[in-house]
Amino acid sequence: MLIVVCIKQVPDTTQVQIDPVTNTLIRDGIPFIVNPYDTHALEEALRLKDRFGCKVAAISMGPPNTEGTLKKALALGVDYAILLSDRVFGGADTLATSNVLAAAIRKLNSEVDKVCLVLCGKQTIDGDTAQVGPGIASRLDYRQLTLVDKIVNLDFPANKIRVSRKLEGRHEIVEAPLPAMLTVVRELNRPRYPKVNMRLIAAEAVVEVWDNKTLKLDEQKIGLKGSPTWVSKIFSPERDKGEILGDGYADPAGTAKLLIDKLIAKDMLPL
């Protein structure tokens, strides 16, 4: 039995800026992190591995430097780490991305072991679409259980999974047959911290790379060509530079008064 975790390398969004001319992210010098929601998917897969002894594969589609993200997954204890990387995969929207990821999962299912679960973060913090996970489920015809904050029961003999979904203001308990695709929220678990020896081994490990020669997908269905989505404009909302009023540390009362006066002057404080 194999659990597949889809992870994505994203720019550390707290440090991201957008190029005003090209409307794209300025990636130079911005450190990459593992998409935070994906770390919870990874943790849950590793917990299931600890409990049931199944194997875990981490897959990621991205440029060659995504290897670092997959090595982090190896350091945490996944059994297989596969990078889906090819120039023809580039420029993909959520549909084209899910085509590539689904193809890789199919390949794992037929060549490595039967896939019982696919785990994804509920969304990425760069694109924020929350579409890739469900897209994979659709392509593979798996049941999709989104926004999971707890796996209530996983019954391999009965081939069933029961989860709790975190919805607005309520929880929903749903059951589905396996194989299933889950997207997970932060409340699911606390990710583990890698052990040093695992990190050292992962640093030396060679991450397997699958390109389109391996996956053999129709080029019309992947990359830019396979992406019907068209981004017309992306921008940071303008924000005026802030202003430091007075010295709140030396004179808190006076500074509070300054602030109130200012807000009243701007008609921002209803009286």
């Binding site: 440090q15 450190p31 606390r190 430091i244």
Partner: protein
Amino acid sequence: MTPNSAIFTPLLLISLAVFIWGCWKRFSLISRGRYENRFDNIGTRFGEMLLYAFGQKRVVSKPFGINHFVIFWSFIILLIANTEFLLHGIFPAISLMKLPDGILLPLLLMLDLVSLLALSAVIIAAIRRLVSPPYPEARTLEAFFILSLIGILMLAYFGINAAKITRMQDGAHALAHTWMPVSSVISGIIPPSIAASIYAFSWWAHAFALFAFMCYLPNSKHMHILTAIPNCFFHRLEKPNTQPREEFIAGNTFGVDRVDNYSWKDLLDSFSCTECGRCQNVCPASITGKPLNPRGVIHDIKVNLLKNGDSLKNGGTPKVPLIGENGEGSVSEESIWSCTTCGACMEACPVFIEQMPKIIQLRRHLVENEAKFPEELLNLFENMEGRSNPWGIAPTERIKWCSQLDIKPFNKHTTEYLFYVGCAGSFDSRNKHVSVAMAQLLDKAGVSWGILGKDEKCCGDSVRRLGNEYVFDKMAKENVAMFIERGIKKVITQCPHCFTTLKNDYRQYGLELEVIHHSELLRNLVQDGRLPLSKRTEEMGATIFHDSCYLGRHNDVYDAPREIVEAAIGKAPSEFERNRSNAFCCGGGGGRMWMEEHTGERINLARVNEALEQKPDTICVACPYCMTMFEDGLKDVNADAVKVRDVAEIIAEVALR
């Protein structure tokens, strides 16, 4: 029964065998430890041994240490009498009495008086242990047993000599009266009829006390008689303010999870502990009710070694885990995480036991091999590794503190000092005020300085003290490479944690920096007249100065901050009851800044209450962690009328306004 060498000799040989066997067993256990070179600077080491082992310099720093000094030196001097006694027991022909009078008589006088001194010291020690022990658990049977043995030895010595004197002829009697005054007085109460019996009884009592001593010594905490002297010889000559590097190669073990992963010196430490309890009486964790007790840690290491000794010798694995809740012989995880690395234990230890590095080794195991640590540290570790600051704030925000100042980046050709602002100085809203004050003071004094700006990274102090050596190693290497590339030689820090890390830890990476704490630099600038203090400030009111552990105890900077505060307020700041090398931690060091404190009293409250006893208006600190701990503590006890000020802020008050 009169002395009889036919009985005495075999008994002595058996006792000697037991003694040597006990010592050998312990020595072979110590040799299970990892190799560590402590054989450098032999001359200095010899001097240290003379000063601290034979001179008992640290022992006598506490009033009761004088008593130990007396027992120690009596023991050394009485070795003459005891050696003679043992040799005489085997070969009755050997006797001090054969010495010429010119040597013999003064020697007898000395031995007589020293025995009396030793007896008195032993009685005082026993009374102290009964009435007011150094710590409650010190009233052990073992302690009284060993004191009684020494007492018996002295009493028997007097018994032997007094009985001899009773039977002496007039001439000899008069001599004895002069040269063995104590024994002579005792001889006055011995009827001549029983003198022979008293002699024989005392002689055998002395013999059996010596045998018991020999057999018992290696198995007790009194082993320190033999180990404390070499322990002083082998002590770390540099201050133990840093931890050794680890080599990150797959397959290596990191930190310590079994007792034989410690170095031989660590194991020698455990046999050198006399359990005086001075460490626990200054430990902020012990005092505030945490499970950590530095004496206990050392004791547990010893017990663990003894319990696992046999299986380790056979190449097996330890039966009793070193880390765990298994009682004696195991150190609990909570105690491992309770240490603030303040170093008070090491400063207090009379025989230079290094408690703190041993605790950090245990942390290293937990973090690096087990990934097991209090959950609040997960964010810290990830923030440090990912964004190089404890809060995980975007590195681009590092320069926000100086957005309204005109500050130049460090330039290797034109700038003298790098002002290494530090994470607290860059991100912590309270501490940014200190950074601003420093920037303005440096400009006012015309110092050539610059910053690294967005490129500055955390020094890694907290992760190193928390045992996350892997992440520290990465951070240190990055910083060292950047410092070398940018030609940085002289650094100003306003945080004692940055100070010690840049100064002492980075040296292990081949980077020798001239690091100056801002309190020292400001003191120099004022003294050189470059920073004129035109007036004195009344605004601070009654000011008390708190020593930061990593500035004071770990790096010996005590006077600079006091002098500069004095220059600003016109009088010396008042002192905490526990000050300078005896100062009590704020609770924020050793990574404790980032952890919850669930057990016992809060350390910062203990220190705040100590400050409030002196009724200060201002608590002066020289460390951002101390600043936070005091401000939080003052709020907790509703005393926020008392202000906390960094030394730089106090100087800014008089130099800038």
